[in-house]
Symmetry: C2
């Protein structure tokens, strides 16, 4: 009898083997595979949608929440978006093989670094079948093999998508095992995946914070992970107050659920009276609940008194905490104490304040005169995004194709010897 | 009663606090601290040497091996080397604060990445007191706080060195807790160190493979670690055979104990007869034991028959395994199967072979016409080396100051809003 562990080991070995071939694949081959997948998606819409319908019906029978059902459903529109995504990634430059930092040592040997794939990437995600295509495309483009483990509610959809992916790989002469979808709903498969250090080089979990925390606590394979996004906007004494108001409003209301949404607004005491009442009116009119420190309450009567709990909370909803501070130092100290190191912004017209904030705030993204909701790989010009990392090592902030690669040293000489 | 865990937590909190200040320290301040340490080392030699003598006597009484005693001893010469190292690191450019990859997005916002410290670094090492100074200096220069845990045999020496380091930090107005030496010989302290994810950003273990493997298995904090260095030289059909012989001889004999030492020599069958007998004579005369495949034995009668065990072994001594291969593909496949992904080299005059080898061999360093023993940060021009990483993520191969830093995104705008 084959155990789950045997199956997972087999998948791991196949991935490693495929990764050796993927490492050497040309940019043209990888683009060909991606375009073939786009083509297959387009011609096999109906088969894909009927597989998806099975998942959706089962989920509906199990009374899944409407938001989850929505994510699970592959509409015409969401298939179009996947096709477009594949074409865009196909058109991007090949991230692999380029040399950087070439220097010549005194003995004449050349030292450079070559960008190479990470190897095998495991991706664990919830029941959003579009992630299957996104993740497969990004891993493929960056020369990696991947093992995909989606939510069990999306299994039939993911298996249908896996077939389409395999067709694309085969059409381009690439190994089918370069993208494998785990087809068992057994949750123990995830436990195997995050501990197979010999076969998997990195795990990227996508999903809710509690899932990621639990995985991180048990993983032996390194993870590129996203935890909290408790983001701040600080309105400095020297800010353009109209700009500040627009930035704060956009940072909170662009979308409540994105990790770059502002959760706490810090305002310098010198401009609080001039700026907060109108901004508060605008936010309240938009349905945002306001909580604030005692000074804030004096300016915004409708604000509930904020507690330390509020400074610590990533609401991901229509709630905003507001605190009035005496100085930029106090704002930076608040962010250091309560922030999550994700994305924080200062609104100021003063160069010195902007520089101090950008230098001293230890977050993966630090902005000047921009709303925190810009935290996104596409907005940064990365062309694609596998996620946003709250790690300090390797990839930090929005992770594009480069985050799925690493560097190796390549040295060229003509017989130099050491110690001679 | 204060438990070990409390003590370690306290050290961790102090380190985090100090790291906030170190992050903002100017290059001038950091250089001043390093030069003050060099000065203190120079003026306090006798106090240092008497602390060291206590360690050495105790170790001698416990009948430590001569090699270990040698590493433990702080001679005049080794103190001079530490002083010189501090001055060199002081003179290096500040790795922190520079911007790279600045682009302007269509909406006018500027996107760049700023090099910043990792935060708090834990370093675990054996009884070489000079590592205390090296590691402290590199962490300080890169704006990190560090927690040092040396071998218990060197405790008195390390505490004396810690005093000198503290004097340097204080002289430059930097926090004393930026460098902390753990002063308990209790081994459980290491277990705490490698799991304090909230206070420590990365652990760098230096020492024997078995120590590192054990730590890696238990760590929760990410590690920059060095495991195996099973390095290969491959002599291609189109090699300059005199050059090949010199490279192979140097790769094996420069120093047997370095991780870049060649452990297996691969030779193309077309040049084996022309190249192996003289090379074998030279190696044997130097005291190197030869083991080889059957074809090798036909050319080198003194060679013992190699087994799979030999292909897998990092001898770190005067033994060399030799295998004759039919093609460059077979050489690359051997390295893929048996190598450790550390450093591998091809000797060839053919561009196509060099390119294929550099592209396809998945090691942290891949050379053309150079001996593998060049694997060293100083040889690569890094100016300093904290170690060599066999990780794939973050830092790979020789790790200099840059490996102790990370990047944060810094964006500057003038009120751009998202979705507008």
């Amino acid at each position: 009898m084959t155990t789950l562990q045997d199956t997972m080991q087999q998948i791991g070995r196949q991935a490693r083997q495929a990764s050796r071939v993927m490492m050497r694949a040309s940019g043209a081959q990888k683009a060909q595979a991606l375009l073939a997948m786009a083509e297959s998606l387009s011609t096999q819409r109906s088969a894909l949608q009927s597989a998806n319908a099975t998942d959706v019906e089962a989920a509906r029978a199990r009374k899944l929440e409407p938001a989850l059902l929505d994510r699970l459903t592959l509409s015409e529109r969401s298939i179009d978006v996947m096709i477009e995504g594949l074409r865009q990634i196909a058109a991007m430059p090949d991230p692999i093989g380029g040399l950087s930092a070439t220097t010549v040592r005194p003995n004449g040997m050349q030292v450079a670094q070559m960008r190479v794939p990470l190897g095998v990437i495991g991706i664990i995600y919830e029941s959003r079948p579009n992630v299957t295509i996104d993740a497969a495309a990004l891993c493929l483009k960056s020369g990696n093999a991947c093992i995909l483990r989606g939510g069990s509610e999306a299994l039939q959809s993911n298996l249908a998508l896996a077939k389409i992916v395999a067709q694309g790989l085969i059409a381009a002469g690439l190994p089918q095992h370069a993208v494998q979808v785990i087809d068992t709903p057994d949750r123990a498969a995830v436990g195997e995946l995050i501990t197979m250090t010999e076969h998997i080089d990195v795990i990227i979990p996508r999903g809710g914070k509690s899932l990621i925390k639990r995985l991180a606590a048990e993983a032996r394979v390194p993870m590129i992970k996203h935890l909290d996004g408790n983001c701040h906007v600080y309105i400095d004494a020297q800010a353009d107050l109209n700009q500040a108001s627009d930035i704060a409003f956009n940072a909170k209301t662009y979308r409540y659920g994105v990790c770059g949404a502002m959760e706490t607004l810090l305002v310098h005491k010198d401009v609080a009276a001039a700026c907060l009442p109108t901004l508060a009116k605008r936010l309240s009119a938009h349905g945002v609940e306001l909580r604030g420190c005692i000074q804030t309450q004096q300016l915004i009567p409708q604000a509930i008194l904020a507690t330390e709990e509020d400074w610590a909370t990533e609401y991901l909803g229509p709630i905003l905490a507001i605190r009035i501070v005496d100085s930029i130092q106090e704002a930076i100290a608040h962010i250091e104490r309560w922030g999550s190191g994700h994305t924080d912004s200062i609104v100021t017209q003063q160069i010195a304040a902007a520089q101090q904030f950008q230098r001293e705030v230890d977050s993966s993204s630090v902005y000047v005169n921009l709303p925190t909701c810009f935290a996104d790989g596409f907005e940064y010009g990365l062309g694609a995004e596998i996620g946003i990392s709250t790690n300090r090592l390797h990839a930090r902030g929005p992770v594009g194709l480069e985050g799925l690669t690493t560097l190796k040293w390549v040295l060229q000489g003509n017989g130099q010897l050491r110690g001679h």
